[in-house]
Subunit: 463 residues, 2 copies
C-alpha cells in the first residue's frame, strides 16, 4: 500500500481529483471481466497526457511502486486486475482522437479511445476500422493493442496487430518512445511496435496509437447453417472459402444457442435443431455473389454436411442473425463460466475437436460445456458453466484440474493456450504449454530491458 | 582469422566439403549486391540442418568467432558482407520445401529456399505467394525475412512480415526456438517472430519459416501513365485507389527509363516523353474494371495530371510494361549507384519530394540522379550514378556528404532512413535519423538478451 507521503506525491503529479482512493473506484478499476480475483489497488490515477504518464512511471521507479494499466477492463485473463496494492493507471481520461489523415487513412488516438468510438469515427470519414468484438462498446484501443485483440472478423482482417501503424509508449523507466511513426515501410532495426503489441503492459504503457483504416466492405450478407456433426464444420468452411471472400466464419453449439434464446430477444433462425451451427458472412461484391452462396449451400446439403440454413434478406436480418453468435458470451455470464480460449492450425481443427470433445465429455460429466468460436482461424472458446450448487473456489479448482488434460491436447497439436484473450494472471502458469523454457527465459530477459525494476504490471504474463 | 585447429573443428562439425576456405568462395560469399566492401571472411560453411546451424553457433560461442548469415546475397545495405575474418554461414544447402498444407495454405521452407522457388511452388498448388521483387530469382526466404523485404506489391499485400506464420530460429547461444508454430491466432506473450523479422541476423539465424499463401489474384492489367510534374503523381494515386483495388503503384523518371531503353530489350511505352511515369496494376475483377480504369485515366488527363498513357492488352504486354520499371535497378548497376531508400508517410510525399528535389539539384549538380520507387507506400529510391571519371572512394564520400542533407529532410518529415533495404553496414551510422537514442539503447539491450557474446552478425544494424 501507499503511505500518505506517496499519496501526496500523486496529488502533486496529477490534479487531486484525478487520484482516487475511494472504495468504489478501487473496486471498479481494480478488476476486469475476469471474475476470479479480489481487487485491492492502493490508488487509481487518471492521467490526461503522455507527460503525466511518464511522470507517474518515473515516480513509480523511485518509490518502487507497481503500476497496472487499465483500459476498458473487458479482459478475460486478468491482465488488468490489481490485487496487491498496485497503483492502477486508468486511460479513461486519455480518450481523444488527435488527428485524422485522409490520404494515409490513419487516425491518431490516445490510448483510452473506445473501440466503437474509433469505428464510428472511421465510418463518419467514409472509411472502416474492421477489428470488432462483443466488447467494442467499452474496450479501449490501448487495451486492444496491449492484448492484440482478435474478434469476429479475423478471418478476413486479421488481429489488432495488423492495424497499428505507429505507437507511442512509455517504458518502465519512464522513457517515451515513438514506434514506427505511422510509416507503411520502415526497415530500421527491431520493430518494437510489434513487441509492444500483445505485451499486456509488462514492458511499458501504450499512450497513443496511429491506427490504419481501410475502405468499407461492400454490403454484407450473413448465413446461419445447421451442421449436425462437428466434422462437417471444416468441410463447409473449405467449400465456402474456395469461392467467396469470407469476412467471418463462426460456430456455436445448440447449447450456446439455447442460452441466447432464453433471454427472449432473438428468434431461432429456422425450425430444425442441430448440434452445431455456423455463421458466415461475406461481401456481396456483385449480383452473382448470393447465387454462388446459395449454390454452395445446396452442395453442402447434398454432401450431408448441412441440414438447414438461412440467408439474410436485409441488414436488419443480418444483425439479428449475428446476435445469435454475439450474445452468447453475455448470456452465459451469470453462470460464471470458466473460459478456455485455445487455437490450433485450421487444418488441425477436426482431429483436435474430436479429441477435445472426448476429454470434455469424460472430465466434465456434471458440468454444462458451451462451445463457440472463431473456427475459421482455428480458435475455440470452451466455456464451462458453474453449477449453482458448487462454490466458486471448488468450481475453479475442478476446471484447473481438467485444464491439465485440455492443455496436454493443445500441446500435442502444437496449438496456443491463449488464442486471443492473452495470458494475464489467469493463464500465466500455463505459458509453457505454448512457449518453451528457453523462449520464456528470453521473454524475462526482454522484460528486464524495458522494465528493469519490474514495476510494469508485475506478475502478469510472467510469474 | 581462424587457426588450423578451428578449421579442423569446422570440418568435424560439417562434412569437409561443406567448409570452404578457397579464395573464390570467400569472395563470392563474403559480399552481397552492395558493392562498397572488400570481402574477407575466414571461411564459408554450408550447413544442411538446423542441428548443424545450432552446433556451429555453439562452437562460435566457445571460440568467440563472429558469424555472418548469407542467403541469396542480394542485399543492398551490406547486411550480409563479411569484412573482418568472420565465418559466413550460407543457407544455400538448406533449400528444401519441407511441407505444404492446403487447408492452412502454408508452406514450411528451409531458410535457403529461393523466392521464385516458393512463388512457383505456390502457383503449382493453385495458390499465390505475393511478395515479389527484381531479385526473386536469387534472394532466399531466410534473407527476405531477416530484412523484411518489400518490393513491388506492398501497396496491396504488405511486406514479407505479413506472410510469416511461423519461424524456427537459432539464437546467439545456439538455442533453437519455434516461434508461433504457424498459428493464425496466438496471444501468448511477446511475439518474437516479429522481433526476428527485420533483425538482419543480429539476434540469431532463421533456419526455417512457415509461409502463408493466398488465392491468386484475378487477371492483372497494367497501365503506364505519363506524369509531367512530380506533384501530379499523388493526385493520380488518390484518384485511382478510390475506385480500383491497386496491386501496385510505382513511379520512375524519364532518366531511369532511358537507362532501361538503352539496353535495347524493351520499347518506349508511347511516343510522348514526360519527366515522370507511373506504373499501376489492378485486378480485373469483372467486365467493368477496365472501363473504370479508362474513365479514371480520362479524368486525370482532363485535370492535367497526365499527358499520355497505355493500358496492357495482353499478359505479354503487361509483362513488357513491368520491365520498364523492373529493369531499372539492373540497367544502372554498371554506374555503381549510391542508393538511398527512404520513406515518408504517403500524405507527406508531395512536399517531401519537392524539398528533396531542391536539395538534390543543388547538391548533385554534376551527378546523374535516377528516381524511382514504390510511391504508393511513400517509398522512394534515389540512385546517384558515379561519373566514370570519379574514383569510387571519392564518389562515396561525396554521396555521404549529401546524405546529411537528405537525412535531415527525412528526419524533418518523420520518415524512415531505410524503407525496405534494411540498415546493415551501409546505413548503420544513420540509424538515429529514424530511431531515438533511447530506442537504440533498448535495441542494444535486446540484442544482448539473444546474443550475449555479440557473435551474430556483429557490426551490422548496431555499431
Amino acid at each position: 500500500m501507499l503511505d500518505p507521503r506517496q499519496i501526496q506525491q500523486l496529488h502533486s503529479l496529477l490534479e487531486t481529483q484525478r487520484v482516487a482512493t475511494d472504495a468504489a473506484t478501487l473496486q471498479s478499476h481494480g478488476l476486469d471481466w475476469t471474475r476470479y480475483y479480489t481487487p485491492a489497488p492502493a490508488a487509481v490515477v487518471f492521467p490526461k497526457t503522455t507527460e503525466e504518464v511518464a511522470a507517474l512511471v518515473r515516480w513509480a521507479t523511485q518509490e518502487k511502486v507497481a503500476l497496472v494499466p487499465s483500459g476498458g477492463r473487458t479482459g478475460l485473463s486478468g491482465g488488468a486486475v490489481a490485487t496487491q496494492g498496485e497503483v492502477v493507471v486508468s486511460f479513461d481520461r486519455m480518450n481523444a482522437i488527435l488527428d485524422f489523415n485522409p490520404v494515409d487513412r490513419t487516425v491518431r488516438c490516445q490510448a483510452g479511445v473506445v473501440t466503437a468510438q474509433l469505428q464510428d469515427f472511421a465510418a463518419d470519414q467514409g472509411l472502416y476500422y474492421p477489428v470488432d468484438f462483443a466488447s467494442s462498446g467499452s474496450s479501449q484501443i490501448g487495451g486492444n493493442i496491449a492484448t492484440n485483440a482478435g474478434g469476429i472478423k479475423v478471418v478476413r482482417y486479421g488481429m489488432t496487430r495488423e492495424w497499428v501503424a505507429g505507437l507511442k509508449v512509455v517504458t518502465g523507466t519512464g522513457e517515451v518512445l515513438e514506434l514506427n511513426q505511422g510509416l507503411a515501410k520502415n526497415n530500421t532495426g527491431y520493430d518494437f511496435r510489434h513487441l509492444f503489441i500483445g505485451s499486456e503492459g509488462t514492458l511499458g504503457f501504450i499512450v497513443e496509437a496511429t491506427m490504419q483504416l481501410t475502405r468499407p466492405p461492400a454490403p454484407l450478407s450473413v448465413m446461419v447453417l445447421a451442421v449436425p456433426a462437428l466434422a462437417g464444420i471444416m468441410e463447409v468452411f473449405n467449400a465456402f472459402r474456395q469461392r467467396l471472400d469470407l469476412t467471418a466464419f463462426e460456430f456455436f453449439s445448440e447449447k450456446a444457442l439455447r442460452h441466447v434464446l432464453a433471454r427472449g430477444q432473438v428468434q431461432r433462425p429456422f425450425e430444425g435443431e442441430s448440434d452445431y451451427y455456423v455463421l458466415l458472412e461475406f461481401e456481396c461484391v456483385n449480383s452473382t455473389t448470393e447465387e454462388t452462396a446459395l449454390l454452395l449451400f445446396e452442395e453442402c446439403m447434398e454432401a450431408g454436411w448441412l441440414v438447414d440454413g438461412v440467408l439474410s434478406q436485409s441488414e436488419e436480418q443480418a444483425r439479428a442473425l449475428w446476435r445469435l453468435r454475439e450474445d452468447i458470451s453475455e448470456s452465459i455470464t451469470p453462470y460464471r463460466p470458466y473460459k478456455n480460449d485455445i487455437a490450433v492450425r485450421v487444418s488441425a481443427v477436426p482431429p483436435f475437436v474430436e479429441a477435445l470433445d472426448a476429454v470434455l465429455a469424460r472430465e466434465y460429466p456434471d458440468f454444462e460445456v458451451v462451445w463457440f468460436g472463431h473456427i475459421g482461424d482455428g480458435n475455440l472458446h470452451i466455456n464451462v458453466l458453474k453449477p449453482d450448487a458448487l462454490a466458486l473456489a471448488g468450481f475453479r479448482e475442478a476446471c484447473e484440474r481438467v485444464n491439465a488434460e485440455v492443455f496436454a491436447l493443445v500441446r500435442r497439436f502444437g496449438g496456443s493456450m491463449s488464442a486471443e484473450h492473452g495470458v494475464g494472471l489467469l493463464k500465466r502458469d500455463y505459458l509453457d504449454v505454448t512457449r518453451s523454457p528457453e523462449d520464456i527465459a528470453l521473454m524475462r530477459g526482454v522484460k528486464a530491458v524495458f522494465d528493469p525494476l519490474g514495476i510494469m504490471n508485475p506478475g502478469k504474463l510472467l510469474a
